[in-house]
């Protein structure tokens, strides 16, 4: 998977390295801003209220 991505990146080595780094940053950013806040909702220790259900 990663080898396939690497092969399909354009440009010489330094450019590819930069693009890879940017991709990693984007993915981590998406995880922290979208995926994790969503996944967090089901964590038990965030349930601190009483409710009538």
């Amino acid at each position: 998977m990663y080898a396939w991505i690497w092969r399909h990146l354009p440009g010489p080595l330094p450019v590819r390295a930069l693009i890879s780094l940017a991709l990693v940053v984007v993915v981590i950013g998406l995880l922290f801003t979208e995926v994790f806040p969503w996944a967090e909702k089901s964590l038990p220790f965030l349930q601190v209220t009483v409710n009538d259900q």
């Binding site: 998977m1 922290f32 209220t49 009483v50």
Partner: protein
């Protein structure tokens, strides 16, 4: 074949890294974010109190209970000399990431009835991380724009998550009209689980104007830099 195995291996490693990142997010990042938001809410509220906007008649209380906005502070010396948290209106997860949250259907600070507040015990700022260290006789001070309200803790109780009765104006007696000014704090129990709730009950013992200075139970807490 070899490529498929390698691809599968990469997928597993990636999943492992994502899980580790999630742990880091939960244990570090949510606290960092919550601290930032809590400071922002604190600064905004202190600023509002220091420079109240000129409002028309009938507008006085309207800014008091806006969902997601801070309207008071809690000080609990038993949780640490400088322990203080803004009280935000609402108990949704975004609200609770900004401070402790006021159950909207309950009384306000100092009012007759039950002033009920929830807070995280683990991650997201974890204001109530050590709520189990609060015992009978300890003080909880609610600070509003104009008043200090000092509550004393009567008892603590572990209940089920469905124990909605703790929010009653008179807890456990939903039909009784309240005459006392009560306090209820809720958080999860045990700290890293959710199958119980830890409840702290208290009642108002004193109230004083802001101009009279903080109540004596806070003198040690506020003496030095309570930002």
């Amino acid at each position: 074949m070899r490529g498929a195995v390698r691809g599968f291996g990469e997928l597993l490693i990636t999943a492992g890294v994502v899980v580790l990142l999630f742990v880091a997010y939960e244990l570090a990042w949510t606290n960092y974010e919550a601290d930032r938001q809590t400071h922002r809410v604190t600064d905004t509220l202190r600023e509002q109190w220091a420079h109240p906007r000129v409002t028309g008649p009938g507008d006085i209380g309207s800014s008091k209970f806006v969902k997601g906005k801070g309207f008071a502070f809690l000080h609990i010396p038993a949780l640490g000399r400088h322990w203080s948290s803004p009280v935000v209106q609402g108990v949704s997860l975004p609200d609770l990431a900004r401070g402790v949250g006021h159950y909207p259907e309950t009384a306000g600070p100092g009012e007759v009835g039950n002033f009920a507040v929830a807070g995280h015990r683990a991650t997201n700022g974890e204001p109530f991380a050590y709520l189990d260290k609060v015992h009978k006789g300890d003080y909880v001070v609610a600070e509003t724009q104009t008043k200090w309200f000092t509550y004393v803790v009567d008892r603590t109780k572990i209940v089920s998550p469905s124990a909605f009765w703790v929010l009653d104006p008179v807890p456990g007696h939903p039909e009784v009209a309240p005459t006392q000014r009560l306090l209820t704090l809720t958080t999860c129990n045990p700290r890293w689980a959710s199958y119980q709730r830890l409840i702290v009950f208290g009642h108002l013992v004193a109230s004083r104007d802001k101009s009279a200075g903080p109540p004596i139970v806070l003198h040690r807490s506020l003496a030095k830099g309570n930002a």
